[in-house]
């Protein structure tokens, strides 16, 4: 079971909200499914993200995937060190490999708890 202190999108992003600030990242399932990560593109601090829209890209040996935001709001912090340390996504996807902190104005209706998200983690 994945951490219970946050919620998840079917598209494998996680979102943890504390005091109106959302920390977002991608799950261990996403990371293992991508494998051999080579590039991560994150937006700049001060820009805005919108629910359901792409905020960045992650590239593995065989594919490029968009990253989708579970919240709308302004980016107040970016984990800039992560782009040069992609191995953190494998070793610590739920903590050290956070991607953005966002001052939330609205939340996606599609966020699920850890138990419900589990159903999306099926191979194939």
């Amino acid at each position: 079971m994945r951490p219970n202190d946050r919620s998840y999108l079917k598209s494998h992003e996680w979102c943890k909200i504390e005091n109106g600030i959302a920390t977002i990242g991608i799950t261990d399932f996403a990371v293992s499914h991508l494998s051999d990560l080579v590039f991560l593109d994150l937006p700049n601090k001060g820009s805005n993200v919108t629910i359901g829209e792409s905020f960045g890209e992650i590239e593995s040996v065989k594919a490029v995937s968009d990253l989708y935001s579970p919240v709308s709001g302004e980016i107040i912090e970016v984990n800039k060190d992560l782009t040069d340390n992609l191995e953190w996504l494998s070793s610590d996807p739920f903590a050290k490999a956070w991607m953005l902190k966002i001052k939330v104005t609205s939340l996606s209706q599609e966020l699920q708890n850890a138990a419900a998200y589990e159903g999306n983690c099926v191979e194939g």
Binding site: H12, D36, I58, E59, V61, K62, A63, S65, D66, G124
Partner: protein, 382 residues
């Protein structure tokens, strides 16, 4: 994230609603920790440990591949030769018994329907074709329609035979432990019949990686035992199971085309640089169209290799630009573990096709530099 753009053919969902086919080795792959994905209507292992690791293992030692999805068709009958001369672009009268040629099936417009291998039987009494899984249904429809005009039998053996490949510099040492066939005398693009576990089977010195190796066609009930025998015999040589992800990287490094990428329903063999497999000695389907194309000077585009040290990899569909103008599009892009750079193949306007030409590829709106590079990117030392 799951809605990411599907760049790689390996991740493209199969069109239609047919049930996924499985090879007899599917459970073996699952037990080996493979990630199984839909590919060309089949559930196939895309990777076991990791694509880069598997690709490096094939270059350094050897990899074992399940190719059960590939189509396998015997062509027999009195007019087998005449039939194949019409069906495909290479000249089968020039294939000695026991030898193999790369070839293509075109339509009347000279457009590529598939690329295939043509095996001439050891006794000269027929042929064996290996065709792409994704084109197998269309190929068989073309073959059966054409067969009505000839005294010939088209016999689809895809279910009756298993197919595995062993690729990499240790392939001969490993395979020779298992078979009585003299592999040291088996030439590249030649085949023989050898016994493995006491069962006679077809063994060809062919492959899709740029390494030495063999492809083996196994009476289906023995496929699993033969796979296990290879895994056991290869253990001390570093043999590892290898998925379709690494196979794609390896074939791309070796400059080999993949249907759906370098060749497809919009390309002809001349612009793809595959004219060496087209022989204007016989009346194959598409010949007149290719002759018209040659007379008119061609399509004005050419398949080229590209290399780039950019942080981003050029991917299928990305635009190629020169001087701000769109002059081409990427067919395949890979991170090359062997060359330690990004590699791509692309169609570009012919005036930009000279090796050394500096071009750009577009990642969304951002231009990244790349250089036209002669194919193949990788050639093994012989």
């Amino acid at each position: 994230m799951a809605r990411g753009r599907q760049i790689c053919k390996l991740q493209r969902p199969t069109l239609g609603s047919e049930i996924m086919r499985e090879t007899v080795l599917k459970d073996v792959h699952a037990a080996l920790g493979a990630r199984l994905v839909p590919f060309a209507g089949w559930t196939m292992p895309v990777q076991y440990r990791g694509i880069l690791d598997e690709a490096r293992t094939v270059r350094a030692a050897a990899g074992l591949f399940d190719l059960g999805h590939m189509g396998r068709v015997r062509i027999n009958g009195r007019q087998a030769t005449e039939y194949l001369q019409r069906l495909q672009t290479n000249d089968v009268t020039q294939i000695p018994a026991g030898r193999i040629r790369y070839s293509m099936i075109l339509n009347d417009e000279g457009i590529t329907q598939d690329d295939i291998l043509v095996y001439r039987n050891l006794k000269n009494d027929g042929f064996f074709l290996v065709i792409n899984a994704g084109n197998a249904d269309r190929d068989l429809a073309i073959m059966r329609a054409l067969a009505k005009d000839f005294d010939v039998v088209v016999d689809d053996q895809t279910d009756a035979l298993g197919m595995i490949a062993i690729q990499g510099p240790r392939s001969q040492d490993i395979t020779q432990q298992l078979t009585n066939a003299d592999l040291s005398s088996l030439k590249y693009y030649a085949w023989t019949i050898g016994t493995v576990l006491g069962v006679p089977m077809e063994i060809s010195r062919t492959g899709y990686t740029g390494e030495d190796g063999f492809e083996i066609y196994i009476p289906q009930q023995h496929t699993r035992a033969v796979w296990d025998a290879f895994m056991a015999a290869g253990k001390s040589h570093g043999l590892m199971p290898t998925g379709l992800g690494a196979r794609d990287t390896l074939r791309h490094e070796a400059g080999m085309p993949l249907y759906g990428h370098e060749i497809n329903e919009t390309t002809n063999p001349l612009e793809a640089g595959l004219d060496w497999a087209v022989k204007f000695t016989h009346d194959f389907v598409g010949r007149a169209a290719l002759e018209r194309l040659l007379a008119s000077g061609g399509t004005g585009r050419r398949l080229v290799g590209l290399t780039s040290n950019s942080k981003r990899c050029p991917r299928q569909g990305y635009e190629i630009k020169a001087n701000g103008q769109k002059i081409g599009q990427v067919c395949s892009g890979n991170i090359s573990p062997t060359l330690d750079t990004n590699i791509a193949t692309a169609y570009v306007r012919t005036e930009f096709a000279t090796p050394g030409t500096k071009l750009e590829f577009l990642v969304k709106d951002k231009a990244e530099p790349c250089t036209v590079t002669a194919l193949p990117f990788y050639k093994r030392q012989r």
